[in-house]
């Protein structure tokens, strides 16, 4: 992972976690062991600037610890699917459900926000 991205993402996670105090992380304080799903790397397609890393840790607090916000619609929970495209996102589907440029950053703007350009993944 690029040296610049890691601390940025780490800061983002901590900030979100503390400000939103999600049920999941609060439960961690009560001694309930958490097992968040592993981070996912989506290989890039033709013309993509780089693979996309999806972290549950940065998204779960935004959903107040409620998996049902994203699962199973629009994202499957048992057998993860891929095939995420800008086209679908711009139509408000897949990641574009939130990453539409308004609720969260969309397909326009800084590619490095989602894609790991250059360096190793």
């Amino acid at each position: 992972m690029s040296a610049a991205i890691r601390p940025a993402l780490g800061l983002l996670s901590i900030a979100l976690a503390t400000t939103l105090g999600s049920g999941l992380l609060a439960a961690a304080e009560d001694g309930v062991e958490l097992r968040l799903p592993a981070d996912r790397t989506y290989d890039h397609a033709e013309g993509s600037p780089g693979p996309v890393l999806f972290r549950h840790g940065s998204h779960v607090p935004l959903a107040d610890g409620r998996c049902v916000v994203c699962h199973p619609v629009p994202f499957r929970i048992l057998r993860p699917t891929g095939g995420f495209t800008h086209e679908e996102m711009d139509a408000g589907r897949q990641c574009g459900t939130c990453h539409d440029g308004k609720k969260a950053s969309g397909t326009q703007g800084d590619c490095a926000h989602c894609h790991h350009t250059g360096g190793d993944s």
Binding site: L24, R35, P37, G65, R66, C67, V68, V73, I77, L78
Partner: protein, 248 residues
């Protein structure tokens, strides 16, 4: 060996991953409703600050299985109580009889069927855990052999007696169920029924139905006997009347 689930309410954070996985693995349509319906086979509810999952308890001697006139509900050897929609005639006796209020109906469909958790019978038969157990991020829902789960439940209560109500829900209810629950608050405050008899309910009707062959033979013999006696009385009267006629 039969499998089951252990749901520990004290470890549940109400994330709903179980509901999501259930919808996906059973191809059920969105949305995830507030309580179970024919289209939402498990939900997690927050009742007075505590979380509780609603799902089928997969009784060891299921009431629904015993009441279904066409055997659409069956208890499999592995543990799940499954439903064969192709047999169902829609009498809804299962819905009326279930002591836990589990089965639900497709009231909005012209061709309706019943819907309830089937403990991922297909996955279980292939040696996989249930979908809900496989996605639970806290391990509040555990999948395993029922015996082992009972042991684990008792262990947890013993280790932290102040954290739990001293009862494993499903150990004795309706004669025992494959889905067990632990709670930190009284079970009725979670909306779980605590008036479920300890004895399996099917015994209440089997007691009578099993005697039908004897009853039919005895009652039939009795009725024929009455007919025979009264008919004989008529025949005798007719014979005597005929005799009197002859003498005249």
């Amino acid at each position: 060996m039969s499998v089951g689930l252990l749901y520990d309410s004290t470890r549940c954070v109400g994330c709903g991953a179980c509901s999501a996985a259930c919808k996906e693995v059973n191809d059920l349509p969105p949305p995830i409703e507030e309580s179970t319906t024919a289209y939402t086979w498990t939900v997690v509810q927050n009742v007075g600050g505590a979380n509780v999952r609603r799902l089928c308890f997969h009784c060891l001697d299921p009431t629904c299985v015993s009441v279904c006139p066409v055997g659409a509900l069956q208890k499999t050897a592995e543990g799940p109580v499954v439903y064969d929609a192709s047999r169902c005639i829609g009498c809804r006796y299962c819905i009326m009889a279930c002591p836990f209020g589990v089965p639900k109906y497709q009231w909005d469909q012209p061709v309706p069927v019943v819907g309830k958790c089937i403990l991922c019978a297909g996955r279980v038969a292939r040696g996989l855990p249930t979908a809900c157990a496989s996605v639970c991020p806290t391990g509040a829902t555990l999948f395993g052999e029922r015996e082992a789960l009972v042991g684990e439940a008792r262990l947890r209560i013993a280790r932290a007696p102040d954290a739990y109500v001293d009862h494993v829900y499903g150990l004795t209810e309706a004669g025992g169920t494959s889905v067990l629950m632990l709670s930190g608050v009284p079970f009725e405050s979670l909306g779980l029924r605590t008036n479920v008899p300890k004895q399996p309910l099917p015994l209440l009707t089997w007691r009578i139905l099993s005697e039908i062959p004897s009853f039919v033979s005895v009652w039939g013999a009795f009725l024929f006997g009455i007919h025979w006696i009264t008919k004989r009385r008529d025949d005798v009267r007719a014979f005597e009347a005929a005799q009197r006629e002859q003498r005249r």
